[in-house]
Symmetry: C2
């Protein structure tokens, strides 16, 4: 196993950091690594907003599910799906792609571009001994956060990414068995028993890791995220930002 | 620069491969690396379909924009956003999250999960000297491809990923200047002149790389993807698969 694959296999989300933000040089190196990720048709349809002002960070953390570590001393990046640049270029050059940019595919393109760039940043960070945690909670308070970040139409924040110097690390979380995620040639819809076996195993993990009651299994965690964060405001929000209106 | 960051910075999409698919062991190692990526609320809301039958691969390649390299001897993986598993678990446990799973946020969660896993696979592959190329063209013929792959409702293929042994490699493509992509604290909407400078530089890249006429700049490439592939069928397709109906 080479050092890169070792880094990938050792991934664990870190939520407990030293109060030391990244240096400007570290940030620049991580952004450069993010930018080298693949991008759909070379569009680079994303933007990264580094939140460095403590007051702004505190407001965003509060709106993003109020998780204290997001407001801590480490670095916070907001990864945005960005079609604003394409809108500007289309207007400048007179190419009429307004309908396509307002379609579902343009939303997928920009969302995936943001995700691939972010994952490169995470891996670069982890290879340097830094820790990272995605913050989907950004979408809990997405309208207010978009106002704070002054996002124009055509841009939406997909998630936050906290990066810093880890104080403590959990053990890597066990993943679904490979056979539950990997299919050959056709989707096999009958993998539920594999999933249920795994679910029983994760109950033990949760029991061991943190002293939570044994009935916190993987499936309860996964489904509970939809009970606790249904985010049914997202469709109206996305339409308001000019996504998926056609 | 450590070897992992070196791998990230050297990324280039490869479209010219030896006709040697990955071994089962290589595939398994790459899937394992993919599975260790972060996943929203531990959901693992994606599936990977390895296409190994030449006839099936040829049909998919034809429907995915008819790019010959997709049908070649190397390996083809289809990364799917997958909420089918959550639908099954919800039904099994009696937790009512049907509305949330049919909402825009559940679509974002699953799309991002698929993208993060895929990027891990790409980086693992590149760290081993393999080459990779994403295939967004999967969404050109997404309905027919979904039928071929026998996808149930709650699953959609976000992109394909071709991985193999590179025969030739292009030079890495120059990215937007960091200042055009990276913002501090607030989105700066006035970066168009930076983008235009870059656009002139990429025209030179295209001219040099492949002998294409000098008027193939970055912005033309980016916008042309929407002229050539507006994919206005995507909204109806996603609704049909049970995504974003609420």
């Amino acid at each position: 196993m080479n050092p890169t694959i070792q880094t990938l296999m050792n991934h664990v989300s870190v939520r407990d950091f030293e109060a030391t933000p990244l240096t400007a040089k570290e940030t620049s190196q991580l952004v450069a690594a993010a930018q080298m990720a693949s991008t759909s048709s070379y569009q680079q349809a994303y933007s990264i907003i580094g939140v460095t002002t403590p007051a702004l960070k505190a407001k965003i953390a509060k709106l993003a599910g109020d998780q204290p570590f997001v407001a801590g001393g480490e670095s916070l990046f907001i990864f945005c799906a960005d079609q604003y640049r394409n809108h500007q270029l289309a207007e400048q050059s007179g190419v009429d792609v307004a309908d396509a940019l307002a379609g579902s595919d343009a939303m997928i393109v920009a969302t995936v571009d943001a995700a691939l760039a972010a994952q490169n940043m995470v891996i670069a960070a982890e290879s340097k001994g830094l820790g990272a945690c995605y913050v989907g909670g950004i979408r809990d308070g997405i309208s207010a956060i978009s106002e704070l970040l002054e996002l124009p139409k055509g841009v939406y924040p997909v998630f936050g990414l906290v990066i810093g110097h880890p104080k403590t690390r959990n053990a890597p979380k066990p993943r679904l068995p490979q056979a539950a995620v990997y299919h050959e040639n056709h989707y096999q819809a009958d993998k539920l028993s594999l999933v249920n076996d795994y679910d029983r195993a994760t109950a033990a993990y949760y029991d061991q890791r943190s002293g939570h009651p044994v009935n916190r299994s993987w499936s309860k965690t996964a489904l509970n995220s939809y009970v606790a964060h249904p985010r049914q405001h997202m469709r109206d929000y996305l339409h308001h930002q000019g996504f998926m209106t056609r």
